[in-house]
Symmetry: C2
Subunit: 226 residues, 2 copies
């Protein structure tokens, strides 16, 4: 059984790939080059796809810089650092990229249709990022409903599924599951603003959430150690 | 009031732009360079955006060739010619591009969110193309529902609308409305397989549907004449 797995190279998507493999899917990993401040995420995605046994890995250029509107796609907007509440305030941080998950899932849908795959995996998580509207279960369900009307298979009556296995987990739970499945988190990169050497900044929301998740498991983040 | 208008440079999207302008929207036109066999569609879109008074026109590169699966994105798949039934058989032709409208609407959604626009126009039409799943009203409605859960405004309680004004019209009705609104159809290009000079082939489904629509209005297609 084939599945398309969205793979950013970060902790969540690496764990999602490991889960999809564990469930027996032949995983076709899909990564987007979308104007991140650094291309280090792409390198991390390549390492992760290889080590977690993806059967194929494609990288697609997506021009989100043409639209801007986020600290991750517009160099003039700063990535927030050292935020004590880590998104718990309910306010959406400037690292939110407008409609990003919708664009990514749309490409995944296209590839799934071309390959005749019926399953798409995405590592969204609503617990740690309640501020991102496109990480919520109701959004994922609405995308799945739309996807089942959008493609040729809509006419055949078969169903495409969007799997978001991490959606209700805490970062600590995600890490525990990933470690059980043998994910090497030293290969992943979650930082919103890594240094020139691909070193995590240890101060953005993404770094802080990760480090807290490892700490709750009595561990140190191996990406920070290495 | 701002609106994002998807503009391919063809007859339907030109008419849609004219309708959006007539309804009083400041139109931000969005065109995709996606691996068509020719870039003539882009030139047509530029002409149409200018002559129909779009306040802005952006062209975004979208790498659909990386996924293939259609006669419009894979040169090895032929564009069908001289088909007598013009899609009335219910069979989906090889010019269908997997998830294309979903990808295009996702970018429109991103741009709408960045600009704080609440309206997106798309020139899909279910009457002439019953074979394309992503041209049907139930698909457009499902996309709108998903879009209203996908973005920041989902949290604010405001509503984004996807307008598909042509969805129930025949090609002849679309042309009649466009002529009333002053659309110059000689500027548009709908052909799936235009010649090197940007001349329509007059044999693909898209050319045949257009020519029939003009004939039903007692006219000759000006793109064919010119």
């Amino acid at each position: 059984m084939k599945a398309v797995v969205l793979l950013s190279g970060g902790l969540d998507s690496a764990t999602t790939l490991a889960i999809a493999r564990k469930e027996g899917f032949a995983c076709h990993a899909l990564t987007f080059r979308y104007g991140q401040r650094h291309g280090r995420e792409i390198e991390a995605a390549r390492r992760v796809a290889r080590s977690l046994g993806a059967v194929e890995h494609r990288v697609i250029d997506v021009d989100l810089r043409a639209l801007g509107g986020s600290a991750l796609t517009d160099a003039r907007i700063e990535v927030p650092k050292d935020r004590p509440d880590l998104g718990d305030s309910g306010e959406i941080p400037p690292t939110y990229v407008p409609a990003r998950n919708t664009i990514f899932l749309s490409y995944a849908l296209a590839w799934a249709e071309v390959m005749d795959a019926w399953d798409i995996f995405i590592g969204v998580n609503s617990t740690d990022y309640s501020g991102y509207p496109d990480c919520r279960p109701e959004y994922i369900n609405a995308f799945e409903t739309m996807a089942n009307l959008a493609t040729k298979r809509a006419i055949s009556g078969c169903r495409l599924s969007i799997h978001a296995p991490l959606i209700h987990w805490t970062k600590a739970q995600i890490i525990r599951r990933g470690l059980d499945l043998g994910v090497d988190y030293s290969q992943t990169l979650s930082c919103y603003d890594p240094g020139a050497e691909g070193k995590p900044c240890e101060r953005c929301d993404s770094c802080l959430l990760r480090m807290r998740g490892f700490a709750e498991n009595g561990l140190t983040d191996p990406a920070v150690q290495s």
